[in-house]
């Protein structure tokens, strides 16, 4: 029975110096959410994309092939964010943690996971760059627009976007627990209407070309900075919503 604990029975267990680091370890207790499923999503989509590229190139189509498959793990990080909240918050309260410690620790855990997935992304991109798209001119990670400023900038952009989706999922899960499904749905609808309103405004002013121009001129790194700013805002929003959440 006690075999699981047989080590260091008599010595003091090395406790994390900070309880926030403890939250990171708590989040990684469940390796499925933070490690295996993201790896599986990335690996799975990569494999499928390669097979599609192979079929296309086998049928004699020339020219480079690009796909948006590498963004699949980004979306999944919204799920990771929601899981980090739903699965661990109530236990963290039983561990006498403050909401601040839980929030920070969860963000650090997500950052570690996002760094890992971004490294894989950069590595794939470098391989594609070196092998001219696996020899068949097919690119999964090496997207020119993203890689314009080099591998570091590409990795950073990928990292920030991953974090953005995590924080969004995290915040929505908190809002759901705090306000319930009705208010969450209403606020989602309001956000959708606001975005549509913005789009209508741009259309009415026939400003779409300028908007696209802005996106292109902002470049990947510029976009990453904007996304980082949004991340900060959403993270602050998450903490403020979590502050008054009861168990």
């Amino acid at each position: 029975m006690s075999g699981a604990f047989s080590h260091d029975r008599h010595s003091r267990f090395p406790r994390p110096r900070s309880r926030t680091i403890g939250v990171v370890r708590l989040q990684f207790t469940n390796t499925q959410t933070f490690v295996w499923v993201p790896v599986l999503v990335l690996g799975g989509v990569w494999l499928i994309t390669l097979i599609v590229y192979w079929i296309i190139s086998a049928s004699g189509v020339e020219g480079p092939m690009y796909s948006g498959g590498s963004q699949a793990p980004l979306w999944y990080f919204a799920v990771v964010g929601a899981q980090a909240m739903n699965l661990t918050f109530y236990f963290s309260q039983a561990m006498s943690l403050t909401r601040r410690e839980f929030c920070l620790g969860s963000l650090v855990a997500a950052a570690i996971s996002a760094v890992g997935i971004s490294l894989v992304f950069v590595l794939l991109g470098l391989i594609e760059q070196a092998t001219d798209g696996y020899g068949i001119n097919g690119y999964f990670a090496y997207l020119p627009w993203l890689w314009e400023a080099g591998p570091l900038a590409a990795g950073l952009t990928y990292f920030v976007l991953t974090m953005l989706w995590f924080v969004l999922g995290f915040w929505f899960a908190i809002a759901y627990k705090r306000f319930g499904p009705l208010i969450l749905t209403i606020s989602l609808l309001v956000i959708a209407l606001l975005i549509l309103g913005g789009a209508a405004l741009i259309s009415a002013n026939q400003a779409w070309p300028e908007v696209w121009l802005w996106f292109v001129s902002a470049e990947a790194t510029g976009l990453a900075l904007w996304a980082a700013a949004l991340c900060t805002v959403f993270a602050a929003g998450s903490y403020l919503t979590l502050r008054r959440l009861t168990t």
Partner: protein, 305 residues
């Protein structure tokens, strides 16, 4: 004695209900408190607010002289595992205990292992596949082995069989003797915990209706066993809160203390005095919150022949 928890005029209202109504309490260090009351009386709400898991509508809470909300310094010294604690999905008891080991500064690993063996808790089964009693055991083990300076047990024995409950009580008392700390145990199995708790707090409809040392509560009534007729003569005119009869033998609990004359009569009539059931007293005070009025006048009444 120093107080570790001070609660002043604490009120918690939800949209339609009042969970806590002007509660004022003082909890002393190194003592076991029984927080008793019916379901929905406000026990869990009170514990949640004390551990900053819930928020007061009005009133003040101080734990170790500070407000517990978002206060790691204070929370660090407390442990509150809920009656139906939620654990991370797919986590096992081993994960939960490893987590507790990370966060509770006074955690005793050897003690935790002993408890795991005693409660026969499977460590590798996902928690959601454990039986209700086994899930409760996780909470009990965390609560005991964390050795937090203030430990809350909220109906910790849900799904426990009699053996597991006794194990919990025995471990609690033994470990408390070794490592004195403040324990708040909420329960509705009043007679089972009666011998553990040094202080009784009874809460009903969100109000504190009793907050006294257990001995003082017990001293408010006497239980007499013996010949039904003889007992009838003794208790005539007094407030009887519980009566059981079997043939000619009766067991009667009545409010008030015994006078010298009473004791003499009891000896002559061959009646026995037995320990008063705390449960009877609590049930009575919960049923009728104006219990106080009977205290003074039954005390002085003498035996009516």
């Amino acid at each position: 004695m120093t107080s570790v928890i001070e609660v002043r005029h604490l009120t918690k209202t939800y949209k339609t209900t009042t969970a806590l109504d002007d509660v004022s309490l003082s909890i002393e260090a190194d003592s076991i408190y029984g927080l008793l009351g019916r379901n929905g009386a406000g026990k869990t709400t009170l514990m949640s607010i004390l551990t900053a898991q819930n928020f007061a509508t009005s009133g003040e809470v101080e734990v170790f002289g500070e407000h517990p909300y978002e206060n790691a310094r204070v929370l660090n010294r407390m442990c509150f595992v809920r009656e139906s604690q939620k654990y991370p999905d797919d986590s096992t008891a081993r994960h939960a205990l490893a987590g507790a080991r990370l966060f509770f500064p006074r955690w005793d690993q050897a003690f935790a292992e002993e408890l795991v063996a005693d409660f026969r808790l499977p460590l590798k089964t996902p928690i959601k596949k454990l039986s209700r009693g086994q899930q409760s055991a996780i909470g009990v083990i965390i609560g005991l082995a964390s050795r937090a300076e203030i430990t809350f047990f909220d109906e910790p024995y849900l799904g426990f069989d009699a053996v597991a409950r006794q194990l919990f009580y025995d471990h609690l008392i033994a470990d408390y003797a070794e490592c004195p700390r403040t324990i708040l145990l909420s329960s509705h199995l009043i007679d089972e915990v009666a011998d553990l708790i040094e202080n009784v707090i009874v809460i009903d409809h969100g109000r504190i209706i009793m907050d006294e040392p257990t001995d003082a509560v017990r001293g408010r009534a006497v239980n007499i066993v013996g010949d039904a007729d003889s007992i009838q003569r003794l208790v005539a005119g007094r407030e009887v809160i519980h009566r059981e009869t079997l043939g000619r033998v009766a067991s009667v609990t009545m409010l008030g203390r015994l006078s010298e004359v009473d004791r003499h009569y009891i000896a002559e009539a061959n009646l026995d005095l037995t320990p008063v059931s705390l449960q009877q007293l609590v049930v009575r005070s919960t049923r009728d919150e104006t219990a106080e009025h009977t205290d003074s006048d039954t005390d002085v009444r003498s035996l009516q022949p």
